[in-house]
């Protein structure tokens, strides 16, 4: 686990900013394309990072998204300052959402974000403190071709 990072980058995410929401994950995607990450892995990273970013935009005040690349894996960490999640198990249920009607109008709030992040990661950790914030760690292994 304590492998040396060969790349690490940080991006800020502002809560409530739907105009720029999705930017951080897009920048991460472009970096990974430039260094030639395999297409299938790239897609998993792109989806997981986008969902995590949009959760910060939708529910939290602010957050940062970190990209760490080691020779064997891609790690995305998202740490936010926000309301936190009362019941993580419930939040992880497909279809569970507290999105407002307005967010639903915009096509968010299907309650599939967290389940999709989990589905696309090889390892997924979520920790949350109510009233403080939520931390996600998404790990996606690179296959042998990429080492």
């Amino acid at each position: 686990m304590n492998q040396e990072a060969i790349l690490s980058e940080e991006f800020e995410i502002s809560g409530g900013d739907f105009v720029n929401g999705g930017r951080a994950s897009c920048l991460i995607k472009n970096i990974l394309k430039e260094i030639g990450i395999d297409a299938e892995i790239l897609r998993r990273v792109a989806i997981a990072a986008y969902e995590a970013e949009m959760n910060v935009v939708m529910y939290a005040r602010r957050g940062i998204m970190k990209l760490v690349l080691t020779p064997k894996r891609i790690i995305i960490k998202v740490e936010d300052e926000g309301p936190g999640i009362h019941d993580i198990e419930l939040a992880m249920q497909p279809g569970y959402s507290t999105a407002t009607p307005e967010m639903r109008e915009m096509g968010f709030g299907a309650g599939m974000g967290l389940p999709n992040i989990k589905k696309n990661s090889d390892k997924f950790n979520i920790e949350s403190t109510v009233g403080k914030g939520t931390n996600l760690e998404i790990i996606i292994n690179l296959n042998n071709k990429n080492v």
Partner: protein
């Protein structure tokens, strides 16, 4: 990947090219550089969209479409015009007159592609119903979009519908039928697409999804235009084509953006046209931002194929003509849906082989080296003036920095007019 073996449908004429920056600036994939006062196209980055051809002020970009005289290499000559052709001669001339004119030019058979477009619409619906694969399914009609996905969005290749576009389906069918009817070998029949689109030459000469294309060439609408005009002027109306009663309004609609999805009953389908909007939506699909869409039609040209680089008529007028024809020929189905379903069952529409991702080369094959180069590129970029003038021969400062870290031959930072001597 050796550049010389990547086939392209356009060529820069060095006699005419003076090395201005117009095409380089217009290229959506930043494939063009100016070297020694000539435009040079990077074969790996070029997707054959034709933007350079559209914008060149010196007429120095040549599309490599089939010469009309080449049809004589075949015993039986068949024309398969894109429905776009019907929009090119004003709003009064009807498709059958245009098909007639083609016959007078020297084609033994002239076949209306629109009918097959309508069949394809039914087949797409069938595909959507049967395949529960991830959404959205993306159209395979525009060869430039297919190449764009292979290059820029390799992870989306598996979303492309595994079905040949109408031109290939039509040609396949025709070759069989004519060969049987005339009792001649299939290879003595030459089938030519009459096309608004140079990229068709790539899908014909280097097909991605089959051994050999069913088409033998693609003739530019611009090239054959005057000949058709002459025949139309003579108005030797023969009314010998049975196709008039068969022309499909649904099929003609494929000439414009939204035509492909008009023919299918899925509400959750979306049409996009133009290169930048296509790149934008594919980016959103890649992030999983686009949800609840079943089918995505993307056409690289503005407003769809009527905005193709090899058209003659103003595309806004052309669009009006197409809409008029759609009204005239109706939204009524001209084809037997059960017959299409039978064909579908026999894999008549299917790809022979899957499309492969072909991503752009990374900064370096080795990840750690690539990251070092990425850093170096960022450092160089910080030192460049950032005004993107193009005088260095690259379309913008970022591309210049990238060329430097990729180790382009004879390229130094001194090429920047602001940092140079």
């Amino acid at each position: 990947m050796s550049e010389s073996i990547i086939y392209h449908s356009i060529k820069v004429n060095d006699q005419k090219c003076i090395g201005c920056v117009v095409c380089m600036k217009a290229c959506p994939t930043k494939a063009i550089r100016i070297k020694e006062r000539k435009a040079r196209v990077n074969a790996e980055r070029c997707i054959d969209c034709g933007e350079c051809y559209r914008v060149c002020p010196y007429d120095a970009v040549t599309p490599l479409t089939t010469k009309t005289s080449d049809i004589n290499l075949f015993k039986i000559k068949v024309a398969l015009p894109s429905p776009v052709l019907y929009s090119q001669f004003g709003g009064e001339i009807m498709p059958d007159e245009i098909l007639n004119a083609l016959q007078e030019i020297g084609f033994d058979y002239v076949y209306d592609e629109a009918l097959i477009c309508e069949m394809a619409s039914v087949a797409i619906e069938e595909y959507l119903e049967r395949n529960k694969s991830p959404r959205p399914i993306i159209s395979s009609t525009c060869p430039v979009v297919v190449r764009l996905i292979q290059r820029l969005f390799p992870s989306l290749v598996s979303l492309i519908i595994r079905m040949e576009p109408p031109r290939e389906i039509a040609a396949k069918n025709l070759r069989k039928e004519i060969s049987k009817e005339k009792q001649i070998p299939e290879d003595e029949i030459g089938i030519f697409h009459i096309t608004p689109c140079p990229a068709k030459m790539v899908s014909i000469n280097r097909p991605e999804t089959m051994e050999k294309s069913n088409l033998d060439g693609a003739i530019s609408i611009r090239e054959i235009y005057n000949q058709i005009m002459q025949k139309l002027r003579k108005r030797e109306r023969k009314f010998l084509l049975q196709t008039q009663s068969q022309i499909s309004g649904i099929g003609i609609g494929w000439a414009i953006s939204g035509g492909e999805i008009r023919g299918i009953k899925q509400d959750a389908s979306v049409s996009v046209s133009g290169v930048y909007d296509t790149i934008k939506i594919l980016n959103e699909v890649e992030s999983g931002k686009i949800k609840n869409i079943e089918y995505l039609e993307c056409l690289i040209c503005p407003d769809g194929c009527i905005g193709g680089p090899l058209t003659v008529e103003n595309r806004f007028l052309a669009k009006t003509h197409i809409l008029k024809l759609i009204r005239k020929f109706g939204e009524r189905n001209r084809i037997d849906i059960n017959y299409v379903k039978q064909l579908y069952e026999k894999n008549f529409f299917s790809f022979e082989r899957d499309i492969q991702p072909k991503p752009f080369s990374p900064l370096d094959m080795d990840k750690s080296e690539a990251i070092k180069k990425l850093r170096k590129k960022e450092r160089i970029l910080k030192n460049l003036p950032g005004i993107n003038c193009g005088v260095c021969g690259a379309p913008d400062c970022e591309s210049f920095a990238e060329d430097l870290v990729r180790g382009e031959q004879n390229l130094t930072i001194g090429k920047c007019v602001f940092l140079g001597e």
